[in-house]
């Protein structure tokens, strides 16, 4: 224990002064009585005694000395070094993504993070400004620069477990902006570190990352899709990932419309995955649910729901010189009608939902409608430019968490040559092709001009990608994104927390959506489309469009990032920045004067009570007497 104001100990010199006052009896008033005869008879032992013996039974003196000692002790402002924060301002970023629901730190990582944040807030000086930012699917400031710790605690308490990812980038940008206004700000990130951040990110203020969580023992359903053949047969396709460090066997239970139909015991190697195809599910089944029996750290990803795809097929045009791989994979994709078009006819294309240009020169102008996928375009278009060729590039995932790369491993893929495509503003590069010092995006996607566009920079025939297991998965991801909601008016599947918009049939103005917990929401149409954003609860959402017309979609947590629970030691890309700050070793002063002052106050009250006890006892006796006479009067 140390002291902020040890000089106050000199006030201890007042203690002997109190004793001296008692010895001198300065407070004695002289009173003449008829005779001291009786008093002398009684207090013979007290009278004429040595001075210090006067102090012997004096409770008041003892209490006063204690009171003063406590007061002085409080004035010296004792404190203890504790693992807390110092400084005038602190920003707490609390990750509320799905992975924070893991139960390795009971009751959950989020609760542990909140508890730690509350503790840190309590250790802050009273004058410190506290900002609380929740890094959920969307980053939000819950309490801004408040000096009211109670308000900060309320804001922390109000953070709820999310079911999606965490937008840590925006949260850090917000924190950085606030820190720029407040010098001496400390940013504390309470997260398990499973977030995606840009490679270089400048953050103002000193950043400290407090990793939450201990284990990574988790298995997750990474994918669940349904394929309805034209003849009505239903096939489910599921991927189960094991993120634990040991091989496990889990039982996967499939149920159709609430009735258990299949159970599989899957042996999954450590860090690997197991795929499963369940054919011949009951024909009429609309909703298929997969569930992993048993328990692991995260329950959110042990359950997935898939909805039977609607009958309407996606109309796709494949502009190609003939590509057997593409033809095969497109034929395998459920619900897709593919029309092959030669490059010569490309200029006069009809209306298609999706147009794929496979290693041909795209027509100019581009088709007016439909989403576009360019594979190794022979020349640039109005959307992007082609500047050169990279020889034998190595592929590198720029954003491993991107939905396009879900379950896709491109590290084993070899490429002969790739086009050097200048990334336009609207596009997000997902995979980079590195050839020596040169680097260019190998896969990019984005929305421009009201349509979705993706570009793959290398020719499939100049790579071994079509021979890898990653190929069909990549295609599912690509076509899921390029042709969403095309299969049905209502998309069959959304990421938890993602908003969805779907057109309503003619004459229908509102859709009623029944959420997984049974609550119903009515969504009014705007311009013939219904927009629904509250998909945080995982499970099956039923959409009633009126007149017996029904649809549904499933919200699932298919996120490798959230299912990979192993806590990170630091934020990605923040290693050197936080390392310089002596991460984790937070030190703060916990002051003790408050309880001491309260104790002193209690002593003061006690001293007063002792001083007035004669009056109090008299009062008590009077009360008793009054009650006794009252009782006597009450008797007949």
């Amino acid at each position: 224990m140390s002291f902020l104001a040890p000089g106050a100990f000199f006030l201890g010199l007042l203690l002997p002064v109190i004793v001296a006052l008692y010895l001198l009896k300065l407070r004695r008033t002289e009173r003449e009585v008829s005779s001291t005869y009786l008093w002398r008879r009684m207090v013979r032992d007290v009278e004429a005694n040595a001075p210090w013996q006067k102090l012997r039974p004096n409770l008041l003196l003892l209490l006063q000395l204690l009171f003063l000692a406590l007061l002085i002790f409080a004035l010296t402002r004792p404190f203890q070094w504790s693992s807390g924060l110092t400084g005038e301002a602190a920003i707490f970023i609390i990750d509320s993504s799905a992975s924070m629901a893991a139960t390795d730190t009971a009751p959950s990582r989020l609760e542990a993070a909140k508890e730690r944040a509350r503790q840190l807030v309590g250790e802050l000086p009273d004058t410190a400004r506290v900002t609380v930012i929740e890094a959920g699917q969307e980053a939000a400031v819950r309490a801004a620069s408040t000096r009211d710790q109670r308000q900060a605690n309320l804001a922390i308490d109000a953070i709820r477990q999310g079911t999606g990812g965490s937008d840590m980038r925006v949260a850090l940008e917000l924190a950085s902006a606030i820190a720029a206004r407040q010098p001496g700000t400390q940013i504390v990130v309470l997260s398990d570190g499973n977030v995606s951040l840009p490679e270089r990110m400048g953050v103002r203020g000193s950043l400290r990352f407090l990793p939450i969580g201990t284990g990574g023992d988790n298995q997750a359903i990474g994918l669940l899709t349904l394929d309805a053949r034209p003849d009505g047969r239903l096939t489910a396709f599921a991927v189960v990932n094991n993120f634990a460090a040991a091989d496990v066997t889990r039982r996967l239970v499939l149920s159709a419309d609430g009735v258990t139909v299949r159970a599989y015991d899957l042996s999954i190697p450590a860090g690997g995955q197991q795929t499963l195809t369940a054919e011949d599910l009951p024909d009429g089944a609309q909703v298929v649910e997969a569930r992993l029996d048993g328990a692991d750290l995260l329950a959110l990803d042990d359950r997935a729901v898939a909805v039977r795809p609607a009958a309407r097929a996606v109309r796709a045009a494949l502009v190609s010189q003939g590509n057997v791989f593409l033809r095969t994979v497109l034929a395998l994709l459920p619900g897709m009608e593919v029309t092959e078009v030669t490059p010569e006819d490309a200029a006069s294309l009809g209306s298609f939902d999706l147009v794929i240009f496979d290693a041909v020169a795209p027509p100019d102008p581009l088709p007016a409608a439909g989403n576009l996928l360019f594979i190794a375009p022979a020349r640039g278009t109005a959307l992007f430019g082609v500047t050169g060729v990279l020889q034998t590039p190595a592929l590198r995932a720029l954003d491993a968490g991107s939905f396009l790369l879900e379950n896709v491993d491109l590290s084993q893929v070899s490429v002969l040559d790739a086009l050097q495509i200048s990334a336009p503003d609207w596009a997000v590069p997902v995979v980079a092709a590195d050839a020596g010092a040169q680097s260019a995006p190998a896969l990019l996607y984005g929305e421009t001009g009201g349509r979705r566009v993706a570009v793959l920079a290398f020719d499939l025939r100049h790579s071994d990608l079509p021979l890898q297991p990653a190929f069909p998965l990549l295609w599912i991801n690509l076509t899921n994104w390029l042709a969403p909601g095309l299969r049905s008016d209502v998309p069959a599947q959304v990421q938890a927390g993602e908003s969805l918009a779907f057109p309503l049939p003619e004459g229908v103005t509102a859709a009623t959506i029944t959420r997984p917990d049974g609550t119903r929401v009515t969504v009014q149409a705007e311009d013939g489309r219904a927009v629904f954003a509250d998909t945080t609860a995982l499970g099956y959402y039923q959409v009633d469009l009126g007149e017996e017309r029904r649809a549904g979609f499933a919200a699932n947590l298919f996120s490798e990032q959230e299912s990979r629970l192993e806590p990170a030691a630091n934020l990605p890309g923040m290693a050197e920045q936080a390392g310089a700050q002596d991460a984790g070793a937070l030190q703060g002063m916990r002051e003790w004067w408050r309880p001491l002052a309260f104790l002193a106050l209690g002593l003061l009250v006690g001293e007063w009570l002792v001083y007035q006890r004669a009056a109090l006892i008299r009062l008590r006796d009077q009360l008793r007497r009054a009650m006794r006479t009252g009782e006597r009067n009450a008797k007949p």
Binding site: K25, R27, E30, R31, E32, S34, S35, L38, R41, M42
Partner: protein
Amino acid sequence: MSERLFDEAFLQRLERLALVARRAMAGQTQGERRSPRRGQSVEFADFRPYVAGDDFRRIDWNAYARLERFFIKLFVEEEDLTVHFLVDTSRSMHWGEPSKIGYATRAVGALGYIALAGLDRVTVTGLLGDNGGLAYFPPHRGKQQAMKLFAFLLELQKPPAGNMARSAIVEQPSTELRALTGVARSLQNYAATAPAPGPLVIFSDLMDDGWQDGLRALAGRGFEVTVVHLLAPEEAEPALEGDFKLLDAETGAGVEITGDYELLARYRAELATWQADLRHFCAARGMGYVPMLTSVPLEELLFNWLRRTGVLR
């Protein structure tokens, strides 16, 4: 006389009372009290054989006729009685509201008036240390002497002149202190010099250790002693909460106390013990003991307490 002790109505009520003497005592002149002597009243007492020199007018001739021997008839003598009042006039008696001395003198006035009305002699002595002679009301007889008595009592109420040399007293050892108050000695002197023993009433607060010796001497002389122990209400229930230095009104000696609930409770217990001791002491020597607070009306003392004790009838 500017001040009066009593009004006429009170005095008339007093005349209905009479002092009681528990046994016959010798007086000085002819009176209304039964005396141990034989004398000339109408009440027959005894016979005794005639011896030469007896008054032959008192020979019982009827006895001579039957027995042919001379017998003298003896009659009970009736004499007067001297009632003694002792009033403690030390400084402590001047304390309290109303003062104890005032209460004591009014009580003496009332009792003295009763005695005078009953044709008894009344003598009052103020006990002020050694100089008892200063405040001495010699035996008087007859109701017409009442005014003289009252005047003396009013004089007695005045506080003693001159302050005591406190510093000198404080340094005195306790034996000297006792000699100065000298209650025991003045009582012993009184017992030795009083002309005729009789009923004796002492009014005092007894705040001194010498009282017991003095009372013993009085009882030995044959007085019928009644002790009226006067206490002011402030002495019975002192309102002393806090730290005080108590100064003795008589000696100026100080006692330091911290008055709290326990101490005051102890004080009350001590007072009760003291009074019980005194009552025991008096009962053992055939004395009456009347503890009295000055807050009790005088009528209550006279018409109730003293009748109950057997001093008045």
